[in-house]
Each structure stands twice: as C-alpha cells, then as structure tokens.
C-alpha cells in the first residue's frame, strides 16, 4: 500500500485547519494519523493549542493571538505535518496505551442486545462474547468528553444505528453501530445499539488524566458479572 500522505489542508475557519489524509475510513491511514498527532504534540509548537486526530486526518487548532502565529498558517500547518511524517512513519506500532474495560453484558444493561442478535443472526451470548473478544483501537474522540470511536468490531456484529435515538443512554453504556464500538461517558442522548455497561468512569475532570481513553489507545473489554459490576461501581 502507498504511504499515507496529506491530500489537502482545509481551513477550519481562520483559527484551525484540517489536514485530510483520506475521505474514507482506512485503519492504516488512521494509525499513521494517530502517530503523527503525537509527534506534532511533542513538538510543542507555541501557536498550536490542540491537535485532534480524527478518522481520516487531523485538526490543528491555532492560537491566533500568539506572537509567533504565522502569516500563512495553512502553509505552516502543512509544513509541520510534512516535517513530522518521517518520524511518524518510523514509529513502530501504535503509540497509545493498552486499556482494559470491564463490561457487564447482562440484560439489565444490554438494552439492545436481543435486537442486535436478531439482526446479526447470532445468539445474544454470542454477540457479547464476540464483542468481548475483539481488539479495538481508539480512532477518534468526540461527541462528548471521553467519548471514543473505536475500530476493530467483529464484522459479524455490523448493524446500523437505531432508527430512533434514545433521549438518554445511561452513562457507561457500551454500544455498537456500523463497524465501531463506543462507550457513553455520560448519560446523554444517542442512537447506538447498547449491548452492555462498564462501571468505570470514562471522563472525570477531577482526575489528573481526566479521560480513561485517549486517541490511539488499544482497548479490550473484559466480561464481568452483575455482582462484579456493582462491586466495581462502589470501589473502582
């Protein structure tokens, strides 16, 4: 496969830019984007406030009032990406951490498990075990703080989003749609199919590392019982 490279630098207003690598989701490209984001972050460019790796590229958010903010930020953004590519491509594997999330797939928490099983032509138990057997990677974070879009879902579990989103999905809900899985960090509205719940707190602003998941992290789910869920909820 050809080496991933920036296809376009697209302005995100006058204070940010999106460097596009692919207009479709490609896990290889995403892996390079993740490494690239970390290389750029480590360079601590004073006029770059945020580096956001996304499914098909990365966003650089600028501090346009910074004394060193360049006259042509898009050119500089592309130069920054190009200069960092070699290091990003040289980096081995994925740079993220390994995270294990305990998940209870029991009916009380798995609001859509039966429906997913029906659509997938599997038993509910098989859906849960296939989901828990997967190795996932955080491809992008967004929608809510701590909310990670994870790739690596078993192809057999590919189901569309619910036709009508839930007004409130309970916090910690583990859900799937299309080829990805997510964990809802808060009780918020959402349309993904809920198949379990984790007792872990995905985002806590009071923690030094507020988010449990970070872009590029490798994630595994560990099946737990309802009793373990309740115990972990008490003493994480």
């Amino acid at each position: 496969m050809a080496k991933p490279r920036p296809l376009a630098v697209i302005p995100l207003g006058d204070s940010a830019a999106y460097v596009e690598f692919s207009s479709t989701l490609d896990l290889e490209v995403n892996s390079v984007v993740q490494r690239l984001a970390l290389v750029i972050l480590k360079r601590q460019v004073p006029w770059v406030r945020d580096v956001v790796p996304a499914l098909g590229g990365l966003a650089l958010h600028f501090d346009p009032d910074h004394a060193q903010f360049p006259a042509k930020p898009l050119d500089e953004a592309l130069a920054l990406v190009t200069d960092s590519m070699k290091q990003a491509l040289a980096a081995k594997d994925n740079p993220g951490s390994e995270v294990e999330l305990p998940v209870c797939y029991e009916p009380e928490f798995a609001l859509d498990l039966n429906e997913v099983a029906k659509k997938a032509g599997l038993s509910p138990e098989e859906v849960a075990s296939r989901h828990a057997a997967g190795e996932y990677r955080v491809l992008m974070m967004g929608f809510a703080p701590g909310h990670a879009y994870m790739g690596g879902l078993d192809a057999k579990l590919t189901v569309p989003r619910r036709t009508s989103p839930r007004a409130i999905v309970p916090a910690g809900s583990v859900a799937i749609a299309n080829e990805q899985t997510v964990v809802y960090p808060y009780a918020i509205s959402g349309g993904w199919n809920v198949i379990g719940r984790t007792p872990m707190v995905l985002f806590d602003a009071a923690r030094a590392r507020p988010s449990l998941l970070w872009p590029g992290d490798r994630v595994r789910f560990r099946t737990i019982s309802r009793a373990e869920f309740l115990a972990l909820q008490k003493n994480p």
């Binding site: 697209i10 302005p11 995100l12 207003g13 006058d14 204070s15 940010a16 999106y18 692919s22 207009s23 479709t24 989701l25 984001a37 406030r49 945020d50 580096v51 956001v52 790796p53 996304a54 499914l55 098909g56 590229g57 990365l58 966003a59 958010h61 501090d63 346009p64 009032d65 006259a71 898009l74 992008m140 974070m141 967004g142 929608f143 809510a144 703080p145 701590g146 909310h147 990670a148 879009y149 808060y186 918020i188 985002f203 602003a205 009071a206 507020p210 988010s211 998941l213 970070w214 872009p215």
Partner: protein, 325 residues
C-alpha cells in the same frame, strides 16, 4: 466575604477564557461566549483579562454584595439602575438587580480580585454538559454564595480619579454590541460548501437568519428556509471548531458556539470568522444575522483589527489605573 445570589436570572454561569488542550479527548475549550466583553469587564476592575466573571444571559440575576466590591458589567445592555462599561463601587449591602437584556444577549459581571472558585483542568469556566468547572459545575441558583478571592480588592477604586458623585467619567467601548439587526457576520467557506447545490449556497448568503429559541451555549440553530442536502456521499465524521456551521438532514443550519462538540458528522457549509464569533454570541433568540463570504486573508485582517481595538481599549483602562492618583 462574598456575593449572594438572590435571584439567578435565566442562565448565570462562571466563565473565563476556557480550557485548551483537551479537544483530542472530545472536550471543547468552552469559556465566555463573548470573550471580548469578558476581557473589558475584567480590565475595568483591574483584573487580568482571563479572570473568571459571571456570564449573564437575557434575564439577569439579582445579587447582594456582602462586602465593598468593585464591579463592572460589560457586554449586552441590561435593564437596571447600575451603569454599564465602567467600574462601580458597590458598598457592602448593595443589591444589584439586573433586569432583561435590551440590546445584546450576554453580559459579564466582573468583580475586582475575582471569585474564589477552583480551576478545573486549568480553567474556572462552567462546562454545563459535563457538570464541572465554575460554581459546582452548574448555573447559579437562588441562595448560592460566591466567595471573593480578595476582600480588599475594592481599594483599587481609590486610585481612580472620580467626579463629585464618586464615579469615573469614562467608560469602555461596547465592542461587540450590534447597532442594528440583522448583524453582518463574516464566514469562510466550509469543507463541504462546494457539495451544496447552488440554490442552497445562494440561500445561505441571501437569507436573513433568525436565532431559534432552542439555541444555547453549544450551538445556535438558525431559522430560515431549510437548505438542501449536499450531493456528496456520506461524510466521514471529522473535527469541528468554534463557529462551524453544520447542516444536519433537517436543513436547519447550526452554528457551533462555545460549548460545541469537537467532532461532527454533518456537512459544514461555513465557519464564522473568529473576529465575528463574539458579535454573533450577542444575538438573543429571535436575533437576526446574515452571512457574508470572506477569504482567509480578510478573516485574518478582521481578527487583527478586532484584536487591536480590544487592546487599545484595555490599554486605555490600564492607563486610568496606573496614572491617576
């Protein structure tokens, strides 16, 4: 000593200039919807520009100052007997009764020395969706007591030259308030602009949009003729920014404001020039706006001009504090 909330108003929150560096885990910077007015309010009471103040929205609060407090109100004009855009000494026991906004939507009430609320992830801003930051992560309620960080900061007022009635004779310019509506807001074409059909492109610029009632700190929904769907295939979710104008399937554009989501899967027709975001934030529900296309270069010029106007105003205020004895 402290400021007591006798009536909270419609939406009163503690806000500063926001928390940066967490967009990659899905947390937006947040902070004041009108950071220009916040900076002015802070300068008027001798604070650094990014100190936290109260952001008040459309219907103001009633506050009781339990100690002599140096206060300034900047941004939207609200009904009430207190002067805007200048430092005011509120002696202990003063009740500040703020009515409805008569021009603009949001104002900032800054107190000398700032409020004693803890910073969370580097900012005192209230992030309502996540329920953290500011005062207990929420909007103020009746009976809340906000402690001041410095009970003696009101003495700063002594150094200012005053008229016989004890007030200052100058005021800060209301840099972000609309003179008339619709306001003109500059936008840069968004990533998916070209995939909207020409009717939708034209309608976006020809329409006088109204800020819909269900708008909030996350986004302004814009009422007008629904825009058509872009011709492109399904769009890969990607990053958004403050001022992104998304068009969901309903065709009703949404301008992303301070507490916006950091990524989105809807096509983005435009992004508001950063110089104009604070002015847009001053529109109340029902407020009218139309959009003018500009280049990145022009957006940069607008931003530098706006910055220069703010800095000139801040310098003028600082000069009053330093040179008048």
């Amino acid at each position: 000593m402290s400021v007591r909330v006798l009536r909270p108003g419609l939406l009163t929150t503690v806000q500063d200039h926001g928390r940066h560096g967490f967009q990659r885990v899905g947390l937006c910077p947040g902070g004041a919807m009108d950071p220009v007015a916040l900076a002015l309010a802070n300068a008027l009471v001798g604070n650094p520009p990014d100190e936290a103040a109260l952001e008040i929205t459309v219907i103001g609060p009633e506050l009781l100052f339990e100690v002599d407090t140096l206060v300034a109100v900047c941004g939207a004009e609200f009904q009430g007997s207190f002067p805007h855009n200048r430092p005011v000494l509120a002696p202990a026991g003063t009740r500040f009764n703020v009515g409805r906004a008569v021009r603009g939507a949001r104002a900032y009430i800054a107190v000398a020395g700032g409020f004693a609320v803890d910073a969370v992830l580097g900012s005192r801003s209230t992030y309502l969706p996540g329920q953290f930051g500011g005062y207990e992560g929420r909007a103020l309620k009746h009976g809340d007591v906000l402690p001041l960080r410095d009970d003696h900061a009101a003495r700063r007022f002594d150094s200012l030259k005053k008229t016989k009635d004890g007030s200052v004779r100058w005021s800060a310019p209301p840099l972000t308030l609309p003179d008339r509506e619709p306001i003109l807001v500059h936008v840069i074409e968004g990533q998916h602009f070209a995939s909207f059909d020409s009717n939708s492109q034209r309608a976006f610029f020809d329409t006088v949009w109204r800020v819909a009632p269900d708008s909030n700190r996350m986004g302004f929904r814009l009422s007008g003729p629904p825009l058509g769907r872009p011709q492109a295939d399904e769009i890969l979710s990607g990053p958004t920014c403050l001022g992104s104008v998304q068009v969901p399937p309903s065709g009703v554009p949404i301008a992303l404001m301070a507490d916006h989501q950091t990524t989105g899967g809807y096509p983005r027709i435009a992004e508001v020039a950063s110089a104009d975001v604070a002015r847009l934030a001053q529109l109340a529900p029902g407020g009218k706006v139309h959009f003018a296309r500009c280049s990145l270069e022009i957006a940069g010029e607008l931003r530098r001009d706006a910055r220069a106007r703010l800095e000139a105003a801040l310098r003028g205020i600082a000069w009053e504090y330093q040179n008048r004895k």
